[in-house]
């Protein structure tokens, strides 16, 4: 039985660079994966791994959506400002 991926590095990346605390939840789950695997609880390790992945995904897409919305907002504002200056 292979040890499930713990998503620790991905969780840290999301926590540090997506500016959203969702990554912390990922780290909490990621840090439990290997403990469960070491205890021989494979089902629990699989579940925690999936859970960690879920939060990494949420954090990543939340960051992406905020970033894209921000860009759109800025372009709209810029366009309005330009039209006002005609």
């Amino acid at each position: 039985m292979n040890k499930p991926k713990n998503y620790m590095v991905e969780s840290i990346l999301v926590t540090l660079f997506c500016c959203l605390p969702l990554g912390i939840v990922g780290i909490i789950n990621a840090s439990k994966v290997d403990a469960a695997a070491a205890a021989g609880n494979d089902a629990e390790a699989q579940r925690l791994s999936a859970e960690a992945y879920k939060w990494v995904k949420y954090g990543f897409f939340a960051g992406l959506v905020v970033g894209v919305l921000y860009l759109v907002f800025m372009f709209v504002l810029g366009g309005v400002a330009m039209m006002g200056n005609r």
Binding site: K3, I12, F17, C19, K32, D34
Partner: protein
């Protein structure tokens, strides 16, 4: 496969953007953290955009002023992806044990939480952990 190429292009563009423009300059209009905008709290990643710009320019000291953790964990993250890339290219299966060591991972969690609490205390020396010039 096609989405991997898209991700690679997006990554290169993102790095180039962070190299060229300094998020610390407000007229550059980088996205602000929504949590900070609403609560004025510094979360774990606060200052990491500004820190990343400084890291790309080799100013590691200024980067630690913005976000110490981004600087400390950069080698940790890069090493992992380098190993993964090496494993993929040379069809190996090398794993460093501290990436899946539960004591190491729990310590990281505890350090992150303590760091996040401390950087929100507006008293010296804790305010050195908050993003500053």
């Amino acid at each position: 496969m096609w989405y991997k190429i898209l991700i690679a292009i997006a990554l290169v563009l993102a790095v180039a953007t962070y190299f060229q423009f300094d998020p610390a300059i407000t007229t550059n209009n980088f996205p602000k953290c929504p949590l900070y905008s609403f609560t004025n709290l510094y979360c774990t990643g606060c200052g990491s955009q500004r820190a990343f710009h400084q890291i790309l320019h080799g100013n590691f000291i200024q980067a630690t002023h913005y976000n110490v953790m981004a600087v400390i964990f950069l080698p940790y993250i890069l090493l992992k992806y380098l190993i993964d890339l090496g494993n993929y290219l040379f069809n190996k299966n090398i794993n460093l044990s501290f990436y899946s060591n539960r004591k190491v991972n729990l310590s990281i969690l505890v350090v992150f939480i303590i760091f996040t609490v401390l950087r929100n205390i507006p008293i010296y020396p804790f305010n050195l952990l908050a993003p500053h010039k």
